[in-house]
């Protein structure tokens, strides 16, 4: 590495940008991820740095597997995913703990307390204990960068995968980070030849049994290391209260418990028994403030220490200054500004909720409009189309995890569910976990109708490329895998390919597919997400107030561009439609469903 004289500047970086920078500074050569909120922005940030190969993987397990290969080959490697993605990757992760690493390997698990954009709010620190590897938790952007660098060192020092666990409020908060400019110029050196170590890297039962004692020994060594780890630091103040805290919870705690003593934990697995005992012995009242599960608290209790914790601070949802203050007040702790009983004046007006909605021009709109019209049971999947469960569609009956739509629909039907079920799944989700589910239903003589909604991007997370789009994360042109060909190659005889903006065409395909008895059917719906470059805006539509009678049919397509006019229909006494020209994209779905032809294209 060549280095010019660095001058530090303070830049505002998100936790995700800081993790990318830290990984680059650590000399990471290979990184892979599946997009998932709140982790998504890490890889695009890293992909811009020279000397790094950064890729969108088909799913989180593939991302981790690729990082494992890179690590075994001697390159520092990063695998990035959201908390539930680790469930997908966990098959490899648990055994990676046995093999250990070649060059440093860091797994970023971005957790989502509050489930802002997730199907659950699981606490992935349990994976660190389950798999017996270290867990680091940054508390701001600066630490996100520093801890990432540190994680690679730790990984190599102890021959272990290391989990870095930011949460939504770390990943998506911005804070000042010391950035050295100009940054080092990296010269890419070729990797040395692969070092063959089958007893370490080939986990047949005989070798796995040999590795297990190594895992236990490593955990003991890490436990001792944690006692003096620079990431775990006591800060002494008023010793009436001693607060143990981690991650963003630490930031809330240090505002609420101003002036008191702190044990700030940056490494939350394995936990330092001696350090905690020593801290506890020097304070009157011990408090643990952590988000989600009582992970630290339960450990502290196993040490025989009394502690104030989840009895006062919630184990569900994210924490906040208010919740920490409220908990401290209820626990009777002598904080400076306890929560007062005075409630702030509440506004007297009813404020309508603003739930998420499909965007104007969204290709999913016509699909859920038709599913609703035909009153079909729907097994949904992870993506923007989950909005199909909300009004005006109210058209989704189950949703649990990536790819599960097809399997759930299959099982329900095989078990004897008398109603026909349609599985709806997006293109990226199909490649993530839908392929084996479709193979399964075909193999088992299933009768599910699968709708693959190909909008040409991974939309919910902000529009990332995937195996169907023909472009890589670093911008190269690549093979766009054709979904229709895959379905045909799997032997599906009943296949329809329809245009997402052809409302009648989708209805027709659905009716035909549902009429098929005893065989699986697939409908591929093609329509570009409005955020993709291949989306074409068309002339906006207008609703003619002379013709519109306020029947309200167009409101059932749930388009944010269709507003209620102040004018009401003479007979219906209901508001006429008014189309917002700034929001309308000219998709014509409303025009197609209008029974009076009151909507026309300009």
């Amino acid at each position: 590495m060549k280095s010019t004289k660095p001058s530090a500047v303070r830049r505002l970086l998100s936790g995700n940008e800081a993790i990318a920078l830290g990984a680059w500074e650590a000399g990471v050569r290979y990184a892979a991820a599946y997009p998932g909120t709140p982790s998504t922005e890490i890889l695009p940030a890293l992909a811009q740095y020279a000397g790094v190969r950064a890729e969108w993987a088909a799913n989180e397990k593939v991302a981790l597997d690729a990082a494992v290969g890179a690590s075994f080959a001697g390159a520092r490697a990063l695998a990035v995913m959201k908390h539930v993605g680790v469930n997908v990757a966990s098959d490899s992760l648990m055994t990676l703990s046995y093999t250990g690493v070649g060059a440093g390997l860091v797994l970023v698990s971005a957790d989502d307390p509050g489930a802002f954009s997730s199907q659950n709010e699981q606490d992935n620190r349990h994976y660190a204990r389950f798999g017996k590897f270290p867990c680091l938790e940054p508390a701001d952007s600066q630490e996100a960068k520093d801890f990432t660098r540190f994680a690679f060192e730790l990984s190599e020092q102890f021959d272990t995968p290391v989990m870095l666990r930011p949460t939504t409020r770390i990943s998506h908060s911005k804070g000042a980070v010391e950035v050295r400019m100009p940054a080092e110029v990296r010269e890419s050196s070729p990797l040395p030849p692969f070092e063959r170590k089958p007893r370490k890297y080939v986990m047949i039962p005989a070798y796995a049994r040999l590795r297990h004692p190594e895992v236990e020994a490593r955990l003991r060594a890490l436990g001792e290391y944690a006692e003096n780890c620079s990431l775990n630091r006591p800060a002494w103040g008023d010793r009436r209260i001693g607060v143990i805290s981690n991650g963003v919870a630490y930031q809330y705690a240090r505002e609420v418990f101003t002036g008191f003593s702190f044990l700030k934990l940056g490494m939350t697995y394995p936990l330092p028994a001696g350090l905690i005992r020593d801290f506890a012995s020097q304070v009157e009242t011990l408090v643990v403030v952590e988000e989600l599960d009582p992970f630290i608290e339960e450990y502290v209790r196993t040490l025989g220490l009394e502690v104030i914790g989840k009895g006062f601070f919630p184990a569900t949802g994210e924490l906040s200054l208010a919740l920490v203050r409220q908990g401290a007040t209820q626990a009777g702790l002598p904080i400076q500004h306890p929560t007062s009983n005075l409630q702030p004046p509440t506004s007297s007006i009813a404020i309508p909720p603003r739930p998420p909605a499909l965007c104007p021009g969204c290709p999913h709109r016509s699909v859920y409009f038709n599913l609703r019209k035909l009153k079909l049971l729907v097994a949904g999947d992870i993506g923007c189309y989950a909005i199909g469960v909300l009004p005006p569609f109210d058209e989704m009956d189950m949703l649990i995890s990536m790819g599960a739509s097809i399997g759930m629909a299959h099982g329900a039907r095989q078990a004897g569910c008398p109603e026909k079920i349609v599985a709806t799944i997006g293109d990226s989700t199909f490649f993530h976990a839908g392929l084996p589910e479709l193979a399964n239903t075909i193999y088992n003589r299933g009768v599910v109708c699968t709708m693959i909604l190909d909008n040409g991007t991974t939309a919910m997370t902000g529009g990332q490329d995937n195996p169907a789009t023909g472009v890589t994360l670093q911008g190269e042109t690549t093979q766009a895998i054709d979904i229709e060909s895959i379905v045909r190659a799997m032997g599906v005889e009943h296949l329809w390919v329809v245009d997402a903006l052809d409302v009648k065409g989708i209805e027709q395909a659905l009716k035909e597919a549902i009429a098929v008895e005893g065989q699986p059917t697939v409908i591929v719906v093609n329509g570009a997400c409005v955020f993709t470059p291949h989306f074409r805006r068309r002339p906006v539509v207008v609703a003619d107030p002379q013709v519109c009678n306020g029947c309200g049919f167009c409101f059932r397509v749930g388009c944010p561009a269709i507003l209620k006019s102040d004018e009401v229909g003479a007979k219906t006494k209901r508001p006429k439609a008014l189309i917002d020209p700034l929001l309308c994209t000219g998709c014509t779905v409303c025009l197609q469903v209008c029974p009076r032809k009151a909507i026309y294209q300009r």
């Binding site: 303070r10 505002l12 909120t37 709140p38 998504t40 922005e41 802002f116 954009s117 701001d140 939504t168 409020r169 998506h172 908060s173 911005k174 804070g175 000042a176 963003v248 930031q251 809330y252 240090r254 505002e255 906040s320 200054l321 208010a322 203050r325 702030p344 004046p345 509440t346 506004s347 007297s348 007006i349 009813a350 404020i351 309508p352 909720p353 603003r354 739930p355 998420p356 909605a357 499909l358 965007c359 923007c384 989950a386 909005i387 909300l390 009004p391 005006p392 919910m460 997370t461 902000g462 409101f555 059932r556 749930g558 944010p560 269709i562 507003l563 209620k564 700034l582």
Partner: protein, 198 residues
């Protein structure tokens, strides 16, 4: 320089540019020598739903989000959202509202009713007297691009803060595409005039 923590909360609707506006304020804070943090939420909640973003300036900022009832500047890019978030403002805090209504799906498809401007402002004023409704959208449209509305709001906001105008102009220049810099600077200055700033 006043080093006490200053809390901003930006609220609006997905697609309105709330996150960019709050980014600019966070960077201005850093530019002016404060420690600054901001927090926002991405993903599912952004799809046409409400968007909120916190910014805090101070000597040393710990939490990236302010506490309910302590926001010094509530900046709403949409009317209804001002009413929704008003309890986050501290009593007497400043509320800047862009005069624009965006109907939520609950109003379009359901029985929910979008309150009148008068009702919304009454609810907001129950919390604080310092309320300013800015014709941000109208001003932006006059300048030729409705997307400049937030920059007009930032111009208004800047007159309330003890930070050199140059810091604002520098950050705006850094944050918008080169061909839009001049219009954004213009929109910012229009905003400064709305409250009689220089």
């Amino acid at each position: 320089m006043n080093k006490k923590t200053t809390n901003f909360l930006f609220v609006g609707v997905g697609g309105q540019g709330v996150l960019t506006a709050s980014d600019i304020v966070a960077e201005v804070g850093l530019e002016a020598g404060y420690d600054a943090k901001k927090s926002e939420v991405h993903g599912f909640s952004q799809r046409g739903g409400g968007v909120e973003s916190h910014v805090r300036w101070g000597e040393e900022v710990a939490a990236p989000l302010a506490e309910k009832g302590t926001v010094d500047y509530l900046i709403a890019t949409e009317l209804l959202e001002a009413a929704r978030w008003i309890e986050w403002a501290r009593p007497g805090g400043a509320v800047l509202i862009n005069h624009q209504r965006i109907l939520p799906m609950s109003v379009t498809v359901g029985d929910a009713v979008y309150p009148s401007d008068e009702d919304i402002l009454a609810a907001v004023r129950a919390r604080t007297d310092d309320v300013l409704v800015v014709e941000g959208l109208a001003t932006a449209e006059r300048l030729g691009n409705p997307r400049l509305a937030n920059t007009v709001l930032l111009g208004v906001l800047s007159t309330r803060l003890d930070v050199p105008v140059d810091a604002w102009l520098t950050v705006i220049e850094r944050r918008v595409p080169p061909r839009h810099v001049e219009k954004n600077h213009q929109a910012f200055q229009e905003g400064r005039r709305i409250t009689g700033g220089d």
